[in-house]
């Protein structure tokens, strides 16, 4: 039996996967579209549809995020507007590259390899953060020093910020930045977004902060502002060629919107540090999953596909389930503690 062109198990998979991605998004504050596109690729969707649907999902989650933070706070609108233009140019170039690669028959391979590198990189960063947190816990005296070093701009960021090639624009938060730096940073992020179908918030926000020099609080708001419009543009670009599967995007959004509410509520109950190591491992497993899928295609055998879906979807289910389990456990212990206190009071 099929509903909206999808079998019931696939329909349930998309809603529940959206829910789990939403929990992760709400908890860790990441868009999660970087899990959607590779999953669709593994499920044999064409690269352009997987990327277009991933971007459309990102646009939907951005709308919800902006509604939630409609008072975005510190937003540099001038910088946001320039970023939107250059991001859009980057996305357009990225999407043209995808269609060109598709014509050559290597789009899935290139996108797959890009995801293997991207997810393994993010996973390694999170595992490093988890390791540093453990280190900080073991040596409390060094904790403040470690925090300070996290806020320091890396040498390459300082070097890029030091280029004063005209035209320069004044930033709302103070300071000036070269339009060339903004164009390079925004265009690069846009190209990656258009090429592999990710919202790019996890690279856009650091780029605005470290390369352009916007303070962290303003960088978050400006990233969200520019991301919403670039997400709409990316969806429009792929929508022009009919490469957005609305059934898949709608099902994912239904699950994700609910999951994000639960995930963000969980941040007040569960310590991020307790589960960050699992998030890092999830990214590494997802990367291995895509590598196995590519290997499976190369060998012409379908047996590894099951393992790759299990690694990619299963690992995100596991981490989201860990968060939910901790929420239930903490809520239960809080309630029993409150009950004991009340009894004691009597």
């Amino acid at each position: 039996m099929e509903i909206l062109g999808l079998s019931l198990p696939l329909l349930a998979l998309f809603v529940s996967f959206g829910f789990m991605v939403g929990v992760l998004f709400g908890f860790f504050g990441m868009g999660g579209s970087f899990l959607i596109t590779p999953t669709l690729l593994i499920l044999d969707y064409p690269a352009s549809v997987a990327i277009g649907s991933g971007l459309a999902f990102y646009f939907g989650t951005s709308v919800i995020a902006v509604l939630k933070h409609y008072d975005i706070g510190q937003v540099d609108y001038k910088l946001g507007a320039i970023l939107f233009v250059v991001l859009s140019v980057g996305i357009e170039l990225g999407s043209r590259l995808v269609f060109a690669l598709e014509a050559l028959g290597i789009a899935e391979l290139v996108t797959g390899i890009a995801y293997i590198v991207l997810l393994a990189g993010i996973g390694a960063l999170f595992l490093r953060r988890a390791y540093n947190l453990e280190d900080d816990g073991n040596d409390a005296d060094d904790a403040d020093d470690a925090d300070d070093s996290d806020d320091e701009n890396p040498a390459i960021g300082q070097k890029i910020q030091s280029y004063n090639v005209p035209p320069m624009i004044s930033l709302t938060s103070g300071g000036r930045a070269s339009v060339w730096t903004i164009s390079g940073a925004g265009g690069g992020v846009g190209l990656v977004s258009g090429l592999i179908g990710v919202g790019g918030g996890f690279i856009r926000m650091p780029a605005i902060h470290y390369l352009i020099g916007t303070p962290l609080t303003a960088a978050v708001g400006t990233s969200l502002f520019a991301g919403l419009f670039s997400g709409a543009f990316g969806t429009f670009t792929y929508g022009m060629s009919g490469s957005v599967d609305l059934t898949v995007v709608s099902l994912l959004l239904v699950g994700s919107a609910l999951g994000a509410k639960i995930g963000s509520a969980a941040t007040t109950i569960v310590e991020e540090n307790d589960v960050i190591v699992y998030f890092g491992l999830m990214m590494v497993f997802a990367s291995i999953g895509i590598a196995l899928s590519e290997l499976s295609d190369w060998l012409g055998t379908g047996s590894l596909e099951v393992v790759s879906v299990f690694l990619l979807v299963g690992s995100s289910f596991f981490v989201a389930a860990m968060i939910l389990y901790q929420v239930v456990q903490q809520t239960g212990s809080d309630e029993s503690h409150a009950q004991t206190t009340l009894d004691g009071g009597d």
Binding site: G5, F59, V63, L67, G242, S243, V244, L246, L253
Partner: protein
């Protein structure tokens, strides 16, 4: 695949559809949350 055929009109339709769906979901889950909160506070009282 169920999608909207391409072209400028189709692309606007896709963006509009997702925009409306996201707003509807935000409102619907907001209501759901407030209902759950009301039930919870009634239970506590």
């Amino acid at each position: 695949m169920i999608g909207i055929e391409g072209g400028v009109t189709g692309a606007f339709a896709v963006v509009g559809f997702i925009l409306v769906q996201a707003i509807a979901l935000y409102v619907a889950y907001g209501w759901l949350e407030s209902i759950v909160e009301t039930i919870r506070s009634d239970k506590v009282n």
